[in-house]
Amino acid sequence: MLSLENVSRTFGGFRALQGVSFEVKQGELLGLIGPNGSGKTTLFNCVSGALRPSAGSIRFRGEEVGGLTPDRICHRGIARTFQIPRPFKKLSVLENVALAAHFGHMTREPDAAARARARDVLRLVGLPSDEAARPGLLGAAGLKKLELARALATGPALLLADETLGGLDLEEMRQAAGLLRRIRDEMGITIVWVEHIMATLMRVVDRVVVLDHGEKIAEGMPREVAEDPRVIEAYLGEKLVLG
């Protein structure tokens, strides 16, 4: 569904991504992990159009999307969340999601239909859908859910979820991970999930790609990857024990 070929991105002399290649298959829940600064978010930015890749090709459903503007990429069916939630604070929670439902597709949905769908999505992630709910009243977990809801409302085929667990407690993490699974299982949305906390992610995903210093250092089943010496080294010797 998504294939990256030799994708690179430099910032001046700094190479944030160097020749990264991998495939995401239809219906897959792929984990993208790596230490801080390994290029995960840069990769997301390139795929979602927030950044233009310096080199390489990004193909989505067979078509090149590298270098398109973010709104066009969204219309093609790729949605993303942000690591640090970026809600529109002046709008209500419902309006935040309704905007995404209205503008997220190739053809714009009428207001009423967009609102109805926004309500459905809010119910799915477990957020209030009344007009009075404001983003300012949501806590960390709520804001993460709002990020997900906004991305889902655009009706994506591929969801790029950036650190959905950051800042959450254990119980919230378990819920969020379960939600991602349900999104994949029930809505059939392919997911690439970035996280730098590995433990929870490794239990949920089908396959893992590991980045370090902008390069792909490993790819495979969670169990194999956790044993990979290069991965262990990248995480400063912290070996992951899977239960």
Partner: protein, 327 residues
């Protein structure tokens, strides 16, 4: 109910010129016409301003509009009925030339404000430089077409101009309201807050910013035309450049740019204040009006960031509806 109130309000406003206003009737009418014209321009500015697109160069569009129709009329005898769409078109074109690169390359916030500031000055200097036909800094007088000439939009009777200005002002309010009630408002609000996030949910950021800028520029040019037709004298100092551009911004900030009537209230207050101070002090305290005006502005920005009208409206609404407990 609201609609009825608005209708009654408009009807009352339309009747003002026929009220017994006493010996100062003409003067009062004159001030009211100016208020309506500048309120329209302020409303057009606020279309952009309320979404964080702060233009400090709207004088460029104003001047372009005024000079286009006046020059066409004076030199080629083209009626302002034809000149006005041309003027608006030129302003839209200018806004496109300015806006597209700015928005495409993410010139935002203070940088955008600075670019527009330069634009206002460029137009002012251009008008001065082309003195052979624009009259330079001495300005230009609209060629007289008689006391009542519909084709030339010239009326000696202030009551007619009052009605024209009232109609144009209402159109401005209608445009503001129309933008406000559409999905466009939410989209622009989102863009104003966070362009990256807005683009990520599929909002075409550049397109939206460009459209609202073109709309605002076109309307502002119409305001310039109206001013020129009413005063029948234009010069680059009053219609282009930093001075008038900032005057528009200050009036709107004073009244409040987030509400329908904010720009109007702000404009009415600044004009009333300037007129009052001018009459009260005459030439004794030159600059007194500006000082009081500046002071008022500073106080309002600190204590009523939503503007005088916007802030008071908020207070009244909050008084009317008891605060909901935060959940």
């Amino acid at each position: 109910m609201k609609r009825l109130l608005a209708l009654v309000g408009v009807a009352l406003l339309a009747l003002v010129p026929w009220l017994p206003l006493g010996p100062a009737r003409l003067y009062i009418l004159h001030v009211l016409v100016l208020v309506l014209i500048w309120a329209f321009v302020g409303t057009a500015w606020a279309l952009m301003g309320r979404f964080g697109l702060v233009s400090l160069g709207h004088g460029a569009f104003l001047g372009l509009g005024a000079y286009t129709t006046t020059l066409l009329w004076n030199f080629l005898g083209v009626s302002p009925w034809i000149g006005t769409p041309l003027a608006a078109g030129l302003a839209v074109l200018l806004a496109l030339v300015l806006g597209y690169p700015c928005f495409r390359f993410r010139v935002v916030g203070h940088y955008f404000a600075l670019v527009t500031l330069a634009l206002g000055e460029v137009i002012r200097l251009l008008i001065i430089a082309e003195r052979d036909w624009t009259g330079g800094s001495l300005g230009l007088t609209l060629k007289d077409a008689g006391a009542f000439n519909l084709a030339a939009i010239q009326f000696a009777d202030k009551r007619i101009f009052y009605l024209v200005a009232l109609a144009v002002w209402l159109v401005g309010l209608w445009v503001w309201w129309w933008v406000d009630r559409s999905m466009t408002r939410s989209a622009l609000e989102a863009i104003g807050e966070d362009e990256t996030a807005a683009a990520s949910v599929g909002i075409p950021v550049t397109g939206f910013k460009l459209r609202i800028t073109l709309l605002s520029a076109g309307l502002t040019a119409v305001g310039g035309v109206l001013y020129a037709q009413y005063v029948t004298y234009i010069n680059p100092g009053t219609l282009a450049g930093i001075g008038v551009s900032l005057q528009i911004v200050f009036a709107v900030v004073l009244g409040g740019m987030y509400t329908l009537l904010g720009p109007t209230v702000g404009t009415a207050l600044t004009i009333a204040l300037a007129e009052y101070l001018r009459v009260a002090f005459g030439v004794r305290f030159l600059g007194m009006a500006d000082t009081i005006y500046g002071l008022a502005l500073v106080l309002i920005i600190i204590f009523l960031p939503a503007g005088l009208y916007g802030g008071l409206r908020e207070l009244v609404l909050r008084r009317a509806a008891p605060p909901r407990a935060a959940t």
